[in-house]
Subunit: 323 residues, 2 copies
């Protein structure tokens, strides 16, 4: 069989690493590459690393750049997808109004498309992951923050300013804990990994015993793997905090179901490492709180693409925008 | 000029009254009719009154039923729009699984379309009211409850079970006041007319002085017109309670903006009688709480069609479904 030239490259730009993949028309990854982001070197260095990563992924697929139709990029936002500019990225040092598309189109001489990472992750799950064939779907990604993406009528819904899907900044507890955005009681302030670590440290400080540390525990030292282990061992502080977070995620999903009544909710992100302790509580909360009729037949499922959701979603983005 | 035969009839079925209007292709009302609902007479009697209302509206437009292409109906829900059945209507005595479409198609011998009243109100505002030409719009109607409708891509978004737009049952205050739906902290439990009356009575019971009554005030005796008057006169209890409700509505809108990033929010319903005390607080709350970029250029406007939103929306429904 002749080698297909119908290749796209997906790039996942994260705060710590850059991932790239050469992806065929069936959504199969033919080659991969990875670099440290090292954003302290400044945007031009990072942009060069992204281009290097793209080239290496193509080379590892045993193809050449001439086989590549387009490049898709998922990046932290806020960003201007139409102009291909990252407006501001708190986790990337010095990233303000960085013209990612223009820079990479110049270097790689391919059409480049840019979208925020959670929208891209949602696209990936919709086309290649848990949401295949679903018409209306909302992706929720629980990591250090909580982000999301909204698929309506089979298309990514971006909204007037391209900011749709800010699921983590739904306020679900007026007067609740302070969020990084300045508001109180956002879903992100109740159920992100950051909130979970904060609540574990606070419970210990207030005298609860836990294997996770003593009263001097710094929440930023808490690793997800340690929390996961404590959960497995039935650590009561960990279990209680995770359950509370899962209930908050359930309430957020109830709100989404009441407003949009989608067919599917896809839950992903790093905190899904605690998935077995989260998903059943989420589903039970939704079942208990959702209005009659509204919740019928709605699927709440874990994301499928895991660490590949970024590069695969970016590849989907590239294909969709080329059309 | 020959009389147009391109007429539709819109019917607004409410708990206390039935309104009907004969509406031309430009959305102009040519004839109206009104009956008391008197739902205690049972569904067949109410269905007959709806048909009578439709006939009278057409007669008052100086037309005959043969000029009518279709009939649209806005009714309280939950309902099954596809089957044309009202599943349950708490404000209509004995209404369980009432086949409204089948009954009226038989009587009037016209295609009949049924949709819930707030969706119909949103459709009306979108096509003939405040939202003309807007692509993505959310309507929020604050009355004894809070309902809403979602227009995406110029079309009513109904969702998997037809229940999209249940804006009033977004939970925005975990642990907050009990809602009629059984949950706590729904927007409806914080900002509906019912919640406003409850909070005014509670404030007075707790010793606050108000022109609206004494410690024995029954919240169900509080009339909107009295509250409006108290607001005009600067009654501190009324002002404070309405401001708190308006802030809650603002928070609800922030959540909608974060999830959907629509172009416009249309605020309607009976509580807009307090509009001058609500809208500025709503706008200020949104401005203060919305994420950077997300709120840019989004319009928050009062509904325009007032008491005609039901019949006009139902007429729009009939026209859209005929296509």
């Amino acid at each position: 069989m002749a080698k297909s030239s119908d290749l796209v490259v997906g790039i996942d730009l994260g705060g710590t690493k850059i991932l790239a993949a050469a992806v065929d028309a069936q959504g199969k990854i033919l080659g991969r590459a990875k670099r440290s982001t090292d954003s302290e070197d400044g945007p031009p260095a990072v942009l060069n690393r992204m281009a290097d990563c793209a080239r290496e992924a193509v080379a590892r697929a045993d193809r050449s750049l001439s086989d590549v139709r387009a490049v898709g990029i998922g990046a932290p936002g806020p960003l201007d997808s139409d102009k291909g500019i990252v407006i501001f990225a708190p986790n990337l040092s010095g990233w303000k109004n960085v013209p990612v598309r223009a820079a990479l189109e110049k270097t790689l001489r391919k059409p480049v498309f840019l979208e925020n990472d959670v929208n891209v992750g949602t696209l990936g799950e919709h086309v290649l992951g848990a949401g295949k064939g679903i018409r209306d779907l909302v992706g929720i990604f629980v990591g250090t923050g909580i982000g999301g993406g909204v698929i309506l009528n089979g298309q990514l819904h971006r909204g007037l300013n391209g900011t749709a899907g800010e699921i983590g900044h739904m306020i679900i507890q007026i007067g609740g804990p302070r969020c990084g955005c300045g508001n109180r009681g956002c879903l992100e302030a109740l159920a992100s990994r950051t909130a979970i670590a904060r609540d574990i440290a606070a419970a210990i400080r207030n005298g609860k015993k836990s294997k996770l540390g003593g009263k001097d525990l710094d929440p930023s030292d808490l690793k997800s793997s340690d929390i996961a282990k404590a959960l497995e061992e039935g650590d009561r502080v960990a279990v209680k905090v995770i359950q509370r977070a899962a209930k908050a995620i359930g309430i957020g999903i109830v709100n989404i179901i009441h407003v949009l009544n989608p067919e599917m909710i896809v839950l992903g992100g790093g905190a899904m490492a605690f998935g077995d302790h989260i998903l059943p509580v989420v589903r039970k909360t939704v079942e208990k709180r959702v209005l009659p009729l509204a919740g019928d037949h709605i699927q709440i499922v874990p994301a499928k693409l895991a660490d590949d959701s970024g590069v695969l979603g970016a590849a989907v983005l590239a294909r969709q925008r080329m059309k």
